[in-house]
């Protein structure tokens, strides 16, 4: 908790609004995605947003969380070995990842797109037949791991990927699971949007 309270006192220049939310900054996007999954499972009111400019490399996320929940969040992240590298107070919401999905029906196949990522399944077999779009180097890796697998049994991109493209592909996969009529058998947890 020490790390956190020190930062709360350091208000940003010109900041006058009430500080009710904080940002958890992690070393890499993969850690953010894991932390998001775990904190959501624990029902924390969190969301992933774009980090402040000084932490940006071009493919980044951080976790926005309610300040009042700090003790429990800090303890949980420490227990699971995902401590943030920094914590900042914020007074207004940052840019949020696009979670809008578009679907396209190709007859025997169905495609879902989220941001720049597309996933396509064979409607009959529910197997993933293609993954396209994206630009980060884990996209071809994710395609290798997921194409040919049954959708519900395919790995979750946020668990094996590292980038914002993996995050968008995860959103598309979740939407496809909802549309294709099956709960995610691999995780057993509800999908949130």
């Amino acid at each position: 908790m020490k790390w956190f309270k020190k930062d709360v006192k350091e208000k940003m220049p010109g900041q006058s609004e009430a500080v009710t939310r904080g940002l958890l900054i992690f070393a890499d996007t993969g850690s953010v995605m894991q932390a998001e999954q775990i904190l959501k499972e624990e029902s924390y009111d969190i969301k992933v947003v774009s980090p402040p400019a000084k932490y940006r490399s071009g493919c980044d996320l951080c976790v926005e969380f309610p300040l009042v929940e700090e003790p429990g969040i800090a303890r949980l992240l420490k227990q699971i070995g995902l401590p943030p590298i920094d914590v900042l107070p914020v007074s207004k919401n940052g840019l949020e990842p696009l979670r809008l999905c578009r679907t396209k029906d190709f007859g025997n196949y169905l495609m879902v797109r989220s941001a720049n990522m597309k996933i396509t399944i064979d409607k009959k077999t529910k197997r993933i037949v293609n993954i396209s779009g994206g630009g980060c180097p884990d996209v071809p890796y994710l395609a290798c791991q997921m194409v040919g697998r049954v959708l519900a049994e395919s790995p979750e991109p946020v668990m094996i990927g590292f980038s914002l493209c993996a995050y968008s592909l995860n959103t598309a996969r979740e939407e496809m699971l909802k549309i294709a009529g099956g709960e995610d058998a691999s995780s057993g947890r509800p999908h949130t949007h």
Binding site: D28, G30, S50, R56, S57, G58, C59, D60, L95, E96, P97, L98, L100, K104, F106, N108, Y109, M111, R113, A115, N116, K118, T120, D122, V129, N130, I131, S132, G133, G134, G135, C136, P137, D138, V139, P140, Y141, A143, C144, V147, G161, F162, S163, L164, C165, A166, Y167, S168
Partner: protein, 284 residues
């Protein structure tokens, strides 16, 4: 020299530099035998095909293993920043690299210090980092799809995942996206916008659209965009202007798709093999 650069999704693959060669099993860079698949591999394969058809020297490839951990991307950024002056590069294409604004700016600084600057083409992560860093103006050609075009048009987004909803909703209005991207200096001089209708743009003006043959099944196939980027690279290396290269590549891509009789389950390597036949048809 045509230099093609990008990570390969193999953990711990060392940095390799060498002419791209094809074998019956895949393609080779230096001593590394790699599968022809989406991403950098598809881009290199398509560029190689074009070079073969024009009787040109095989492209040089610079690859390193990266599954998203940045390890291979860092090696590639460092290679570009430290070794470019040693190579006689006339066309340089960067692809699925993990965005790293600081490292990319370092590379661009070295590039601009060269006596003769190569034509610079970027797609995928290399295009994202160029835009996120405010450096799009250094590039000659970008090849975005519609989602990426919306990203270029959103002056606040640092990655396509952060494109704001009201701009994402403009995807059916490509001219407006192009206008916004150029107005905010977030576009390369030449754009090839990939979609149901392809748009070829230069200096903010839409010069041409391509919509035939319309092969719906190409959209879900991973790697077809990479294939276009590779063909544009090869065609510019063959002496075509960026706009002419886009005109030819857009048509060859659609023709190769048609010849492959694809379904949404087709893999890109089964389309790339039709590039020579498609090129012959397009060039008459």
């Amino acid at each position: 020299m045509l230099l093609l650069v990008g990570p390969i999704p193999i953990r711990d693959l060392p940095f390799s530099l060498g002419h791209v060669e094809f074998t019956g099993e895949g393609f080779r860079v230096d001593s590394q035998l790699l599968d022809v698949n989406r991403g950098t591999a598809a881009m290199m394969s398509a560029a190689y095909s074009i070079c073969q058809e024009f009787g040109l020297e095989s492209p040089m490839g610079a690859v390193a293993g990266d599954i998203g951990t940045r390890a291979g991307s860092v090696k590639i950024y460092d290679y570009l920043a430290n070794n470019l002056e040693l190579e006689d590069v006339s066309v340089l294409t960067l692809h699925y690299i993990m965005p790293d604004i600081a490292r990319n700016k370092n590379f661009l600084k070295e590039l601009n210090a060269l006596d003769k600057r190569p034509i610079l083409i970027a797609d995928a992560g290399a295009m994202y980092v160029a835009k996120a860093g405010g450096d799009a103006g250094y590039y000659d050609v970008f090849t975005p799809d519609l989602g990426e075009m919306a990203f270029l048009a959103d002056e606040r987004a640092v990655h396509p995942t952060y494109t704001r909803g009201f701009i994402s909703d403009l995807e059916d209005d490509v001219p407006e996206l192009v206008r916004r991207a150029f107005a905010s200096n977030n576009a390369a001089r030449t754009l090839f916008v990939k979609g149901k209708v392809d748009y070829i743009c230069q200096d903010g003006k839409i010069l041409e659209t391509i919509d035939q043959p319309n092969i719906e099944a190409l959209e879900p196939i991973g790697g077809t965009g990479d294939m276009i980027t590779g063909m544009i690279s090869g065609l510019i290396y063959a002496g075509k202007s960026p706009v002419e290269a886009c005109r030819i590549a857009g048509r060859v891509n659609r023709k190769a798709g048609e010849l492959s009789q694809p379904t949404p389950a087709t893999q890109v390597k089964d389309i790339i093999k039709f590039i020579p036949a498609a090129l012959k048809e397009v060039l008459g």
